[in-house]
C-alpha cells in the first residue's frame, strides 16, 4: 500500500486499538488543542502529565472539554518529563509527546540508560508531506534531528524510516538519496554516500526497500526530469522516501514544502521504544494533529 493522502492514516489508525499518548509537561498552549482534537476523534487516548492547575486553566481558556482525560499531577517540568518517560518505559503509554519542555531536556530523559526509551538505534526525524503537485505522499528524512549524519547514521536513518513505512503498509518503498547532482562526484561526499547506499541495498545489506542515488530533487520526484537526463532508475520519479544529506539541506526543503508548496505535513521521531511527537510552535494546528495521527499509525 502507498499513502495517497495523510487522511489515509486515519484508516490505518481506525483498524486497531486506541493508543495511549503520554504528554510530557502537558500545560502547553501550543500542543493541547491538537491533543484534545485527536482524543475527540478517537485517534489516541491522552495521559496529561504536568501541572494540573495550568492544564485546567489552558483548557478552560480555550474551551477544551477534557472531562474524562487522565491527568497526572507533577508541577515541575523536568520531573513531569521524567515521569512521562518512565510511564512509557513501564508500558503505560504507546506514544510520547513533547509539551512545555525544552527539546534537550526531553531528549536527555529519552536517552536515560536506566529508565529511558533507548533501543540502541539512532533517533531520527521522519516527516510525511502531502502536496497537490505529487501523486502520493512523500516521506522525507532527516530534516531535524541528525545534523550531519555519516554513512552508518544514514543506514540507521533509512532503516528507521523504512520500518515506519512498513508499519503504514508499504512494501519495498522506493528510497531516493538526495544530492545536488545525480552524478557521483568525488568532491561531494553526499554523492559518494548515496552510491554506497545504493550498492549496499543491491547486496541486501540494507533490506526491505529499493534505494537509488544520488538523485537530484527533480529526477527524484519527476519522471519527466529523469527521462530528460537519461537516468535509468526504479526510484526516479516515483520516490516514497527522500533521504537528506544533512540538516542544512533538510531544514530548507522542509520549510520550502510547507511554506511555498503549501504542503500538509506530519512528523515523528523514530528509533526510540515508541514514536515521539515533537512539534514546534511554528507548526500549524493541522500539522500537530497530523503528527499525532502519524505516531498512532506508526505505533502499531
Amino acid at each position: 500500500m502507498v499513502l495517497k493522502s495523510l487522511n489515509d492514516l486515519r484508516t490505518i489508525v481506525a483498524g486497531g486499538p486506541v493508543k495511549k499518548l503520554v504528554v510530557a509537561a502537558a500545560q502547553d498552549q501550543h500542543s493541547m488543542g491538537a491533543v484534545v482534537k485527536a482524543w475527540k476523534d478517537k485517534v489516541i487516548e491522552p495521559i496529561l502529565v504536568g501541572d494540573k492547575d495550568s492544564i485546567l486553566n489552558i483548557s478552560g481558556e480555550n474551551n477544551y472539554d477534557i472531562t474524562g482525560v487522565s491527568i497526572v499531577h507533577e508541577p515541575d517540568i523536568e520531573m513531569a518529563t521524567q515521569l512521562a518517560v518512565k510511564m512509557v518505559n513501564n508500558h503505560q503509554g504507546d506514544i510520547l509527546m513533547k509539551g512545555k519542555v525544552g527539546t534537550s531536556t526531553l531528549l536527555k530523559c529519552i536517552l536515560n540508560k536506566e529508565w529511558g526509551l533507548r533501543t540502541g538505534k539512532l533517533l531520527s526525524h521522519f516527516a510525511l508531506f502531502e502536496v497537490d503537485t505529487y501523486p502520493k505522499v512523500i516521506a522525507v528524512t532527516d530534516v531535524a534531528m541528525n545534523i550531519s549524519p555519516n554513512l552508518q547514521d544514514k543506514i540507521a536513518i533509512i532503516n528507521n524510516s523504512v520500518g515506519c513505512l512498513m508499519k503504514l503498509g508499504y512494501q519495498m518503498p522506493k528510497v531516493a538519496v538526495l544530492g545536488a547532482v545525480e552524478m557521483v562526484n568525488e568532491n561531494m561526499e553526499a554523492t559518494l554516500d548515496a552510491a554506497l547506499l545504493s550498492k549496499m541495498n543491491q547486496r541486501d545489506q540494507i533490506r526491505n526497500c529499493i534505494i537509488d542515488g544520488p538523485l537530484a530533487f527533480d529526477n527524484a520526484v519527476s519522471l519527466e526530469s529523469a527521462k530528460h537526463k537519461g537516468i535509468r532508475s526504479e526510484v526516479a520519479g516515483d520516490t516514497d522516501l527522500l533521504l537528506m544529506p544533512d540538516i542544512e539541506v533538510g531544514n530548507v526543503l522542509y520549510k520550502s514544502l510547507v511554506f511555498f508548496a503549501k504542503a500538509r505535513v506530519a512528523a515523528v521521531i523514530l528509533g526510540a521504544r515508541v514514536p515521539i511527537v515533537l512539534t514546534s510552535r511554528s507548526d500549524s494546528e493541522q500539522a500537530k494533529f497530523d503528527s499525532i495521527l502519524l505516531s498512532a499509525a506508526a505505533s502499531r
Partner: protein, 293 residues
C-alpha cells in the same frame, strides 16, 4: 517576471554552442519568433537541419556555422561574443564541464578578470508576494567567504536590473542561531559587517536566517526574532549548492514556480540551463540574458 524580462526591446544576437537537440532549438526558435533575439547556431549543419525539420522549424531563420565537435563549438561561440559578432552565449548539448572550461579559459574565455563564476536564478512563485533571487543554484558546491561575497553582489546586481533598490538579503541557514556545527556562521558574520560598511551599496543584509524568517512574516511574529529582513526577503544566499539546488527545484516542481537564471561573473551574459526546465523557464532564461546584456 514575464513583464520584466520581456520588457527588453533591443534584439540581441545569441551564439549557441552545439545546439543540435529539439530542446535547445525550440527555445531559441521561440526567442527569435518573439523578436528578442537573432540566433547563430554552431554545430553540424546537417544535424541541425534535421532537428529543425523534425520540429517544424525553418532552419533558414538561423545563421548556422559549421563546427566539428562540442569543444570547438563552445570556443567558437565564445569567440564570437569576444569579437563583438554576438552579444550572448548559450550552451546547447555541450557537456557542462567542457562548456564551463571554455568560459573560464584564461586567454580565450569570457570571465571578468579575477571574477568568481556563480549563478543567480530569479524565481516567481504563486505563494510569495514578490520575485525571489536565489544563489547559487548551479555552480559552486561549497562557497567560501569570497565566493559568498561575490554571490551576494551578483544577486544584488540582478535584482537592480529588475528595478529593486535597497533589496533585503537573507543569508540562509538551518536556524537563526550561529553555531559551531554550521561553518557558514562566521562567513555570514563577515558579510553582515561588509554590508554595514557599505560594500554592497544600499541593501539590508541579515543571517543566518531560516527560510521562514526570511520569507514568512507570520513566522517572524510567532518566533519573536528581530530581523530587518522580517519575512520579506528579495534575495536568498545559500550556504551550499547541496541546499540551494533542491530548494529551487522544490519550488519549480512542487511550488508551481517559474525561473530564469544566468551565470554570473562573465563579461557578457551566458545562458546555461538544465534540459529538464520547462519550456517557459528556458525562454525566460534567454529573455533574462537579453535584459542583462
Amino acid at each position: 517576471m514575464a513583464e520584466k524580462v520581456l520588457s527588453t526591446r533591443k534584439r540581441h544576437r545569441i551564439a549557441v554552442a552545439w545546439a543540435q537537440d529539439a530542446n535547445t532549438i525550440s527555445a531559441i526558435d521561440q526567442s527569435v519568433k518573439n523578436g528578442i533575439a537573432d540566433a547563430i547556431i554552431i554545430g553540424q549543419p546537417e544535424k541541425i537541419s534535421t532537428v529543425c525539420h523534425q520540429n517544424g522549424i525553418n532552419p533558414g531563420k538561423f545563421l548556422i556555422i559549421n563546427s566539428e565537435n562540442e569543444r570547438l563549438a563552445a570556443e567558437t561561440a565564445i569567440g564570437m561574443v569576444l569579437s563583438g559578432e554576438a552579444d550572448i552565449v548559450m550552451k546547447g548539448l555541450v557537456s557542462t564541464d567542457i562548456f564551463l572550461k571554455s568560459v573560464m579559459d584564461k586567454n580565450q574565455g569570457l570571465m571578468k578578470p579575477d571574477a568568481v563564476l556563480s549563478y543567480v536564478a530569479v524565481i516567481e512563485i504563486p505563494e510569495y508576494h514578490k520575485l525571489l533571487f536565489v544563489t547559487d543554484t548551479a555552480v559552486i558546491p561549497y562557497p567560501g567567504l569570497n565566493q559568498k561575497v561575490a554571490m551576494t553582489a551578483y544577486a544584488i546586481e540582478m535584482a537592480g536590473k529588475f528595478g529593486i533598490v535597497n533589496p533585503k538579503i537573507a543569508l540562509i541557514g538551518a536556524s537563526e542561531k550561529g553555531s559551531r556545527h554550521f561553518q557558514y556562521s562566521s562567513d555570514y558574520a563577515e558579510i553582515k559587517k561588509m554590508g554595514t560598511a557599505g560594500k554592497f551599496g544600499n541593501c539590508i543584509i541579515d543571517g543566518p536566517l531560516d527560510l521562514y524568517l526570511a520569507c514568512d512574516r507570520k513566522s517572524v511574529e510567532i518566533k519573536g526574532v528581530s530581523t530587518p529582513v522580517a519575512g520579506d526577503a528579495d534575495i536568498l544566499v545559500f550556504p551550499s549548492l547541496e541546499s540551494c539546488n533542491p530548494f529551487y527545484k522544490s519550488l519549480m516542481l512542487f511550488g508551481r514556480g517559474e525561473m530564469a537564471g544566468l551565470l554570473s561573473g562573465t563579461l557578457k551574459p551566458v545562458v546555461l540551463m538544465s534540459r529538464s526546465e520547462s519550456e517557459i523557464s528556458k525562454y525566460y532564461c534567454i529573455a533574462l540574458a537579453c535584459l542583462m546584456a
